[in-house]
Amino acid sequence: MNIVNWYGIVESLLFAAGDEGLSLKQIASVLEVEEMQAKEMMDGLIVSLQEDKKRGMTVLEIGGTYQLATKKENAVYLKKLVESPSTSTLSQAALETLAVIAYKQPITRVEIEEIRGVKTERPLQTLSAKALIKEVGRAEGNGRAYLYGTTKEFLDTFGLKNIAELPKLPEQSEEDDITQNEADLFFEKFQESLES
């Protein structure tokens, strides 16, 4: 494999790793090269991204990990995008957060962030501003974090009589039929073992 392909592979890896980033060790292990070599390649990648006007991405090196990010100079366009008035709907982040709260309420911000794997401050603000969620109490223990729950406005917006009317999640409904699942699992694993 030559260095040209490495670039593409590393780009894919960094993209998939997201905010967690990748260490030099991880990159080296996937490319099956020495860390020294991986380091050289990353340095090359960073320079070439910075110089290439056709590229909107850059690689940040933070605390020993590399992660993809948008170029600083494009922030002005991102701002334009976010502020465009076309959003009478909720963002993906807000919808996700709302779903987590709806199904797991009452729940603290930290718990939501654990589930989503990303910071959730802003979606919570948005949802509160739209009166879809509210603080419903405080968690036990030190910190006594706010607990969030859905509102009547939420039920109205989604045409629900009450929270129990939320559709069952796939996992939940599948659990109804544990024996079926076992049979499926059996069969799946069995097929796999035949193929291997």
């Binding site: 948008t70 976010v82 709907t89 779903a99 709806a102 401050e121 076992e182 694993k189």
Partner: protein, 250 residues
Amino acid sequence: MQHYNVKIDAFEGPLDLLLHLINRLEIDIYDIPVAEITEQYLIFIHTMKELELDIASEYLVMAATLLAIKSKMLLPKHEEEAFDEDMTLEMEEDPRDELVERLVEYRKFKEAAEDLKELEHERSLMYTKPPSDLTEITKETKSEKANLEVSLYDMLGALQKLMRRKKLQKPLSTRITRQEIPIEMRINEIMKELKGFKGKKSFNDLFSVSNREHVVVTFLAILELIKRRDIHVTQEMNFSEIFVEATEGI
């Protein structure tokens, strides 16, 4: 010797079962020998009964349909047809027509389901990322209530994306994941159990823990041991108890 469990609902319904029979017997779907297929179908239903499996009512309805078609095929031509010979060709309906039509129609979607599976696989090879958090570059949100154009499906869709993502990122995250039982460990346990036990051990006894993962791992361990020829599995007759013993002991 059968040393595996068979998926009890290998068929999606009576139409699926019929398609399978047609395929297996290498029959032309447009010219089904009704007597033969009915016999096979009934044998199948009978076997399911013997296995004490629940037979969905749809299967029984289809059995009745097949019997009805079979008897119609045996009946002599209707009298009316003799009256007007010109009409005969048009009037003469094959009793099988409706069933064939349903089978052909169902088969289309069964195949389309396979296409979807393939598409889903292709798509799963391409990873997308969640939207970035743009908090820092935007202003505070203004308080604005309602008039949202969102539906429950939007929310469930978002949840799907989240779950897909979680699945992908599991090994990357530092979160504590479920304890997995290594197959190799279970293999050693089983061998120890068998060696410490003179003679044959019931297959079912190996599945003492009813935890789903444990069951699957045990099953895989047994398969592996069979492959390695470390154990010997016997069954006197179909559906009777299966016994397992260490090869060494024989």
